[in-house]
Symmetry: C2
Subunit: 343 residues, 2 copies
DNA sequence: TTAAAAAATGTAAGCGCTTACATTCAGCTC
DNA sequence: GAGCTGAATGTAAGCGCTTACATTTTTTAA
């Protein structure tokens, strides 16, 4: 046995240096800035790397170079197709730039989110992606103190100073509400996700109020039911609406999944959509077109958002602070679930 | 300014030690095995940690402790709900054990998968989760050489020696096929994902053949169309089947998404499901129940698989090599998309 | 009271890499 | 050929933490 690899298995930089008869500095340079090394030497070193099956030790590299090339994301859940898509694109783009993705999910729970953020930062994330603006100041302070660049996604509010890539939830929902109102609906109800620590949901609800106000309707006069994410919860919420406010002719849901639940409940209750009642969603995920009838909704470019988020975060990490804020456009998709108000 | 934190910002263990008037070893012990430190000292140190806002440096910790507490997963794509769910559960369970998840996706591309595996290992993954058995020996060798414990998920083959948690794709599909054949179908076609480097798809197709053989039908006589993942591709494949083999009365798809595409194509072509043709899926994701008509499919416990995968990997990392193989049960879900063969 | 055992804490040697700085040496210029 | 320049390479000092081992303090037992 040679004196390489210290007999314990995994070869180190020193083993490679030894094998190639150069110093560790040269090997390191070969790997990180090959142009600074003579051609012959480089070839010899590369051969050594291959022969030995060398791979750099991550911890050592991170320690010495003070960065991990790792980016973290904390999302509510991957089971929501919206985030799965965005995250997929985010990861792909990150990969293209040699960065790796660390993920955790908060289950829409602020406290858990805080833990996750801390854990990921402790894992050496160079930067972090967070969903929406809403969270305790403690997290933001922590991030600032640890000097971890942070990007917000899925929300965009021109008045917020933080770097963000997203869309104007409020304006988008207001647009959609305008369409609904345009169909003659006056008794609108809204099925929302819990708004307590979710600015996206909150803004969407406000968007409906904005549109109502603009149309001369009383913005206070809006039935809102809050319920967790899920098809079943959407069903239950629909029933609740019909009990509390039977005169309702249009139900606007803050996401497609709740809307699909509403659609299902309507069918079970023998109500025809859109003849008896109209239903709208938000996100435009696959089930929106699959639903019976297909769902009128707001199309959100989730993939693009993920990709842009990655690009922006990379920019920020590089120190290029340009383009700190990016607003993406959404689009109303009118489908059969919206019809004129019955009279 | 005190002589803490070296003026450069982030506090280190030494700063904490200094502030609390103990050695770095004591601080380290406070953090990692508090029971080995006297109560007063511990309190003092913890206060110092809080006062200084100390957080351990990941690289240093990884380097010194020779582990990152990070586990990696390479999945085909998060956009497939099946993996999104499993991964979500995987991550949750990992989190419960203080581990963090690194993810990458291969887009069902073997070469890309290899790169991703290397990248993740280079990022210090202590262990890795891979989907299915199929991949080049090089990857397995690399993993072995780097001593990275590996777990296979979504497949389970008692004859394979590698640790795995999954289900018997072949048997499950054979079960479903038996039901189809039981409805009198003889001209069965299959819409499959590309089988080249996907043992799950391959096994499912073989499962159909098994059932045919068992029922006295010729297993060779099975129309198989391979197509990438997607609703649209499922539609196209359906049309292809009806062109190539118009006598087909049942189409078995290797996943729900392709099946939904088939369903849609059938509707567009004016064929009634299940009167004119039966369609089945595999996975039992949400859209299976949402589809019109609801899809007969194989229910796979994706979440449970994710959770078990995490548990097993953690066991393996600990060195407990027990329970090296885990087979999960699947279940046939008969819904309206399957009916008797027309005569 | 005292020695031995146990508990608490300290000392310091790495972990494997990057990089500032030092050295060597070939190729120039004059 | 002396002096200079710049490319190629080497030397060695950390990076911030863990942990084996040494030392000190406290507890226990006889």
């Amino acid at each position: 046995m040679t004196n390489n690899t210290k007999d314990n298995g995994v070869p180190t930089l020193a083993d490679v240096a030894n094998y190639a008869n150069v110093s560790t500095a040269t090997v390191s340079r070969c790997l990180n800035s090959p142009e600074r090394v003579g051609e012959n030497t480089r070839k010899r070193v590369m051969k050594a790397v291959r022969d030995l099956g060398y791979a750099p030790n991550f911890g050592a590299q991170a320690l010495a170079a003070r960065q991990t090339n790792t980016v973290a994301a904390v999302i509510p859940t991957m089971e929501n197709a919206v985030f799965a898509r965005g995250l997929q694109a985010f990861q792909e783009e990150l990969g293209r730039h040699g960065k790796t993705l660390l993920v955790a999910s908060s289950a829409y729970n602020a406290e858990l989110e805080e833990q996750q953020v801390r854990a990921l930062v402790a894992r050496g994330a160079d930067g972090i992606l967070l969903i929406g603006y809403d969270r305790t100041p403690e997290i933001y302070e922590f991030l600032a103190k640890q000097k971890v660049p942070t990007l917000i996604a899925w929300s965009f509010n021109p008045e917020e100073p933080r770097p963000a890539v997203g869309f104007n939830n409020r304006a988008a929902m207001a647009d959609l509400a305008r369409q609904v109102i345009g169909q003659g609906h006056e008794n609108i109800a809204c099925i929302s996700a819990p708004t307590a620590s979710n600015d996206r949901a909150r803004e969407r609800v406000e968007g409906i109020r904005d549109a109502k106000a603009k149309a001369g309707q009383d913005p206070k006069n809006l039935t809102v039911i809050e319920t967790p994410y899920g098809i079943e919860t959407g069903e239950t919420a629909f029933r609740q609406v019909m009990t509390n406010a039977p005169q309702t002719t249009a139900i606007m849901c803050v996401n497609d999944v709740l809307a699909v639940g509403a659609l299902r409940a309507a069918r079970e209750m023998g109500m025809k959509v859109p003849n008896d009642i109209s239903v709208t969603g938000f996100d435009d995920i696959e089930i929106a077109t699959l639903a019976e009838p297909p769902l009128t909704t707001v199309h959100v470019p989730h993939r693009e958002m993920g990709r842009c988020a990655a690009d922006m975060l990379i920019q920020i990490l590089k120190g290029d602070l340009i383009g700190h804020n990016l607003e993406l456009a959404t689009e109303i998709r009118i489908r059969q679930s919206l019809g004129p108000a019955p009279h």
